[in-house]
């Protein structure tokens, strides 16, 4: 009989790495999403162009390729990254590119009259964004951000292929050591699903929180 408690500990260690990757990746993705999403709406053509190039590049090439490139090629160009750093970088930049489109879409869906009102009360462009547009737009972005966060969580599984010991990697270790395939993989599938459910529950809570008191104000 195999003693599963030790192996479960191994998988839980991996779960911690997966959570870390997800949290840090989401943080980077959030920053990149706002930078690139607002960059695409900039008055300066160069900024717009740069943001578009970033978005198209990271959406066009596979996350898998980006991860391998960050891990194997960047060191040759003089950037030494640990597998954790490469993972966070690739995940954050990739999902950030998808998030940027959500940011742009949400800002553009805010009515023209809001922008005109800001001009009328002589707000600077920064003030317009910060105090008028973004508070309304963020609510519209939340559902998409929730989906993106779950996509990022699922994408963390591939870092196991650059030998970062996340949940999937540990499941492979357990498989190699015990010869049992069903239990490790079924366990991590359930754990991943539980994490995904946690994210979507958290997002729903955040959405309720931010829309509180706005009933009837929004169309």
């Amino acid at each position: 009989m195999i003693d599963w408690s030790g192996y479960l500990g191994l998988i839980l260690q991996g779960a911690l790495v997966t959570v870390q990757l997800t949290v840090m990746g989401c943080a980077l993705a959030l920053v990149m999403a706002f930078l690139a999403g607002l960059g695409r709406l900039s008055h300066y053509a160069a900024v717009r162009w740069l943001a578009t190039a970033y978005i198209e590049f990271f959406r066009g090439t596979s996350i898998f390729v980006q991860l391998f490139w960050a891990y194997f090629v960047l060191p040759l160009l003089g950037f030494d990254l640990t597998s954790m750093q490469a993972g966070v970088l690739a995940l954050g930049l990739n999902v950030g590119a998808y998030g940027a489109e959500a940011v742009r879409g949400a800002v553009q869906s805010i009515g023209r009259e809001q922008f005109e009102a800001c001009v009328a009360v002589n707000l600077s462009r920064y003030q317009t964004m910060r105090h008028v547009i973004l508070p309304q737009a963020v609510i519209l972005m939340l559902p998409t951000f929730g989906n993106n966060a779950i996509e990022l969580l699922k994408a963390t599984a591939i870092v196991s292929l650059i030998s970062l010991s996340d949940m999937t990697f540990q499941a492979q270790v357990v498989r190699a050591q015990t010869g049992n395939t069903l239990i490790p993989f079924a366990t991590i599938l359930v754990l991943y699903f539980a994490m995904a459910m946690t994210i979507s529950a958290g997002m729903r809570w955040l959405e309720r929180r931010l829309t509180r008191g706005l009933d009837g104000v929004r169309s």
């Binding site: 066009g60 596979s62 898998f64 390729v65 090629v73 699922k154 591939i158 993989f185 991590i188 991943y192």
Partner: protein, 219 residues
């Protein structure tokens, strides 16, 4: 390390070989996803809650867990239950099932857009459920959702490198074996990125054409 064009041309035939497998996996996966999505969508609308609920739960579970782990599950766990799948077949089934849960949502939207009158007319003409679906609902529901389906097939194409983890010799796997035997990562990894970017850019134009032909797509 320097970029070596000669090496690029030298490895090109091997990469193209892998690219062929990538395309085959994408096409077969797309066909499967289109079928699985339709089945999921129709079953979820079943008036019998004992059918609709479990199907909904299964779809949710597949969508909430990483494709990589699902591939491992198909490739490593099923053989112990006596089901032996070749790597490519396991990969296609994995892609098809995973993206089937996404296309199911597209089908759901398409089916919801068929006016109620059509259902009532089908009932008035005394069509049975199969006839209603095959002759009335699907022919009207499918054309408007073709661009959205194509969008998911492109997303699937970008996930095919995951098949390399279950030993399918597709583009990424070929590039990795080249890199490992020659100790040169820059050219193979970058060329894989170039392949993906090229196909993505071409597919963006294809998608625009589909949108013009069949209607808007939500991205």
């Amino acid at each position: 390390m320097e970029w070596d064009w000669q090496f690029v041309w030298q490895i090109m035939p091997t990469l193209l070989e892998g690219f062929k497998i990538t395309i085959i996996a994408t096409l077969l996966g797309s066909v499967l996803a289109a079928i699985v999505g339709m089945v999921f969508a129709v079953l979820r609308r079943s008036p019998n809650p004992y059918v609709a609920r479990p199907v909904g739960l299964v779809a949710e579970f597949i969508r909430g867990t990483p494709l990589l782990v699902q591939l491992y599950f198909l490739f490593y766990v099923l053989p112990s239950a006596g089901i032996l799948l070749s790597p490519l077949v396991a990969g296609v089934i994995g892609l098809g099932l995973h993206y089937g849960t996404y296309t199911a949502e597209v089908y759901r939207g398409g089916i919801d857009n068929v006016p109620r009158g059509q259902w009532e007319a089908a009932k008035a003409c005394n069509l049975n459920p199969v006839q209603t679906w095959v002759h009335v609902i699907m022919p009207q529901a499918i054309p408007p959702m073709i661009p959205a389906l194509a969008n998911y097939f492109i997303a699937m194409f970008k996930e095919t490198p995951l098949l390399s983890a279950i030993t399918v010799l597709e583009l990424m796997n070929q590039a990795r074996s080249i890199a490992n035997t020659n100790y040169r990562y820059i050219e193979p990894m970058t060329m894989v990125g170039v392949f993906f970017l090229t196909v993505s850019i071409v597919s963006v134009f294809g998608l625009r054409w589909l949108e013009r032909r069949y209607g808007r797509v939500e991205r």
